[in-house]
């Protein structure tokens, strides 16, 4: 007697360790396969496209330094997202906080650049950018911790406002941020004292190493310190936190502020590095949103974010170069990013559940 087969989701008692690595890897592979199907359907050669991306993104030396350079900002927004996500705080406004980081960093560079030496200016620009990023999440953090208002809506709304701010500062004639009497509106370059040069004339800047250090430090903070312990208690059991006298409001507030600061740092990194000026072009790049995907793929693990950040940077920079070099769809990199997010989220189901097919009726003897 045949009977319909049903798919059953059985919660795993023990989430297998190897799946934590396997699932993200497979979601990347699945996204590449989906991308290949899309390329085929639209008449391009997936093999040619991917091999071009691979060499432009990773295997050529130019490609590799470009990738690492781009990963600097992506790791920032990745750890920013993860730092909030780990406490079930969904800061999806990293994009806007990144803009503020750029505004703050550019302001500091332009206002103080002539008076201070480089070794002071770089930290100042990075710090002011971080503070500006944090300021952009202050309101969402406050209403979330005091009134429980969803941070998802507030942080997203503020991103739109931040985008308008960037445009305002660049397109308003006579703005502090733009070159005076220039024919077309463009941000003013920060003075030399506030900018770094790429290592060996590449697009990889020393800030990359700083960001790696910060990611590793956060990894340590979460695993080993009292602060990380508190975050873990609150995210798992708010009642146990209350019982133990852990102030959840204050921790919520500080976690969100740090998250905002990390995205802001990403913006400031662009000022001392590749951009050197407040550039409205940032609005189209979506580095802040990419951070959400990077964090999700790394399952909020700070050391894994270094890896997924570099991977994404490779996809993006490889994909972006395609539009210049070959006749391929220009947004394949961004498309793959979206596909990876979808597959990574879907893959969670495999990690959490044992999925198998069963026959619905009683087994016959």
């Amino acid at each position: 007697m045949r009977s319909p087969i049903r798919i059953v989701f059985e919660q795993r008692n023990e989430t297998a360790k190897h799946l934590s690595v396997l699932v993200p890897l497979l979601s990347v592979v699945a996204a590449l396969v989906a991308g290949a199907l899309f390329l085929l359907a639209t008449g391009y050669s997936p093999i040619e496209t991917y091999s071009n991306m691979l060499s432009d993104g990773f295997t050529s030396s130019r490609g590799m330094t470009d990738t690492l350079g781009l990963s600097t900002v992506l790791i920032c927004t990745g750890i920013s997202a993860a730092f909030a996500f780990q406490m079930n705080l969904y800061n999806i406004g990293g994009e806007g906080q990144l803009y503020l980081g750029m505004i703050g960093g550019a302001w500091a560079g332009l206002a103080l650049g002539d008076q201070l030496p480089t070794f002071v200016m770089i930290p100042v620009v990075l710090l002011v950018g971080s503070l500006a990023g944090a300021s952009w999440i202050l309101l969402p953090a406050f209403v979330r911790s005091r009134l429980g208002t969803s941070e998802i809506v507030t942080t997203l709304l503020l991103t739109y406002i931040a985008a308008s701010l960037v445009k305002h500062f660049v397109y308003t004639p006579g703005s502090f941020f733009v070159t005076k009497n220039s024919a077309f509106p463009q941000g003013r370059l920060v003075p030399d004292s506030a900018s770094l040069s790429g290592i060996g004339d590449t697009s990889l800047y020393p800030t990359f190493f700083l960001v790696i250090l910060i990611a590793l430090a956060l990894f340590w903070v979460v695993k080993k310190t009292e602060y990380g312990y508190r975050i873990q208690v609150i995210s798992d059991s708010p009642r146990a936190a209350h019982y133990a006298g852990i102030n959840a409001n204050r921790t919520t507030m500080s976690v969100m502020l740090i998250s905002g600061a990390l995205s802001g740092l990403g913006g400031a990194v662009l000022i001392v590095g590749p951009f050197g000026r407040l550039d409205p072009g940032i609005i189209l790049l979506g580095y802040g949103y990419a951070g959400i995907v990077i964090a999700a793929l790394a399952r909020n693990n700070f050391s894994a974010i270094i890896v997924s950040g570099i991977l994404f940077a490779g996809l993006r920079s490889g994909g972006d170069k395609l539009q210049i070099s070959t006749d391929t769809p220009i947004h394949i990199g961004v498309m793959l990013q979206g596909a990876i997010l979808l597959f990574a989220l879907g893959g969670e189901a495999f990690r959490r559940y044992h999925i198998h097919a069963v026959r619905t009726e009683r087994a016959t003897q």
Binding site: K224, E226, Y227, Y243
Partner: protein, 520 residues
């Protein structure tokens, strides 16, 4: 079909070869990382029978029940229902076969109402819920089984005892033929237990089957038709026939030695006042929860608070622990006011607190035993786990906690072992030497051997001069341990008596709100 009956005949411990059992398990094996929770277990239950599972904490009772209801899948072995082999791939599949389980750890949605929780998971829900109709229906089912409950109440506001009742009503509402009750009476007061047992009788009369799990041996003797004893995942004993055994024998079967649960009282004169409560009142959302409570607890004294769940015990304990600010009145520990100063302040003055809800409040489920031991301690800026590790190992040994070591996640402990972790932490001193110990239902869910250990530890603490406030719905426990007893009814102390001369009838009547004017 012929094959099926053949298999039944193969079942090693089957009461009679004639009728197929309602539910049978053959050689079930379930392994968790590092533990063989069920090691080739055979089990069956007949129609109209109460079959009890007995065993120490961590013996594998809940695991077995979880496999019988479809929550866990056995690694090997199989299950039959009325002689036919069935595959239970999920609790829903279990329900389709008329098997429902009331779990030891509640599986309710706190933000939902009672009625919403009860109907949760029912397949035949209409698209639009008619709230009042639904609540009436749930109330009717609850009432018909003598388990009155307000269907419109939010679960978050309910006491543990009331939540347990919701779980039972839920299983009954879903039309279970075989009901697996995992320590249902742990959180019920005697009157409620009696009612539950009446229901159990009514259900077995109607041909339904009950698998019962309890550590309360008196109950087991009273209710069981058969008893199967588990030990370290194996079946180690059987008792058949109602009334053929007594609690002593069961205890021996379970732990392999005799258990003496003796009455202990303060052995020496009590010292100065440690806990002082003055005119304490608490109003929550316009409802008076505690009113005008005043009493002291002295060093070396154990004061017991008796009462039916939901009469203000939880709030009283939380207020003393600094988790709730009272509406009026004051609390002092060792002469220092703690009112409005928060839980850490109270702990710094020497408070230790075992709350009622262990996995919900006292422990962090996703953290290890080690990290849970750190929850109420001073953790420094960088958490120092290396120096606490040996202590964790020692406590695991002392409390006989069945675990893979200090890194075992709290969520993955058996119910009794989770309770032991909580007790181990609170009884072993924290920030400062403990002066005041507030314990809620400390031995709930513990096996008799562990109860003996914990009672001895409480007695040691008292002898060492700690002041102990014992809040428990287990009247036996309060009566046999306390030096003084207060009865809490609707947030007021309605009766006070010295422990030695306490009378069960009087205390019981006071708990029910029938107060003869005899405050002496």
């Amino acid at each position: 079909m012929t094959n099926a009956s053949h298999e039944v005949a193969k079942g090693p411990h089957h009461a009679s070869g004639a009728a197929p059992s309602a539910l049978s398990a053959y050689s079930l094996v379930k392994r968790f990382p590092g533990v063989l929770a069920n090691n080739s277990v055979d089990f069956d239950v007949l129609p109209g029978e109460v079959h009890t599972l007995l065993g120490e904490n961590g013996a594998g009772k809940s695991t077995l029940a979880a496999m019988l209801c479809g929550l866990y899948q056995p690694d090997s072995g199989h299950i039959t229902r009325n002689g036919e082999r069935i595959a239970l791939s999920s609790p829903r599949a279990g329900l389709q076969h008329g098997i429902a389980m009331v779990h030891q750890h509640f599986r309710l949605v706190e933000r939902f109402t009672v009625a919403e929780n009860v109907i949760l998971g029912s397949r035949d829900l209409s698209y639009k819920l008619n709230r009042s109709e639904l609540e009436d229906k749930v109330a009717a089912v609850a009432e018909s089984y003598g388990l009155p409950i307000d269907p419109g109440a939010t679960v978050a506001d309910l006491s543990v005892g009331q939540r347990q009742r919701v779980e039972i009503v839920k299983a009954l509402y879903q039309g279970a033929e075989i009901l697996l009750l995992d320590e249902p009476t742990a959180v019920l007061v005697p009157a409620e237990v009696e009612k539950l047992f009446e229901n159990v009788h009514a259900m077995t009369q109607a041909g339904k089957s009950i698998v019962f799990i309890s550590h309360k041996l008196g109950e087991v003797v009273e209710i069981s038709d058969r008893v199967t004893v588990l030990r370290n995942g194996r079946v180690t004993g059987h008792v058949s026939g109602r009334g053929t055994t007594d609690t002593k024998e069961l205890a021996r079967l379970m732990v392999g030695r005799d258990i003496e649960l003796t009455t202990q009282r303060a052995s020496h004169a009590t010292g100065h006042e440690i806990l002082q409560i003055r005119d304490l009142s608490l109003t929550v959302g316009g409802v008076s929860v505690l009113s005008d409570i005043s009493f002291n607890v002295h060093a070396g004294e154990m004061v017991g608070i008796a009462g039916v769940a939901g009469n203000g015990q939880r709030e009283l304990a939380d207020t003393i622990a600094g988790l709730i600010s009272p509406t009026s009145g004051s609390i002092a520990i060792s002469g220092s006011m703690t009112t409005d100063r928060g839980p850490i302040h109270a702990r710094e003055l020497g408070l230790a607190y075992v709350p009622e809800d262990r996995l919900g409040m006292g422990l962090v489920p996703s953290m290890s035993i080690l990290d849970n031991l750190l929850l109420t301690r001073d953790r420094r800026v960088v958490v120092d786990r290396t120096t606490v590790r040996p202590e964790a190992t020692r406590l695991i040994e002392q409390f006989e906690i069945k675990a893979n070591g200090p890194d075992h996640m709290a969520r993955k402990l058996s119910g009794g072992n989770a309770q032991k972790v909580l007790l181990a932490r609170e009884l072993s001193g924290g920030r400062t030497a403990t002066k005041l110990l507030v314990v809620c239902s400390p031995t709930r869910g513990l096996d008799v051997g562990a109860i003996e250990t914990v009672r001895a530890l409480l007695d040691d603490a008292r002898s060492a001069g700690q002041a102990i406030l014992l809040i428990s719905e287990d009247l036996d426990e309060v009566m046999s341990l306390s030096d003084r007893i207060f009865v809490l009814y609707r947030g007021s102390v309605v009766h006070e008596t010295p422990g030695e001369s306490a009378e069960l009838a009087t205390v019981g009547a006071a708990m029910a709100g029938l107060t003869p004017e005899d405050k002496s």
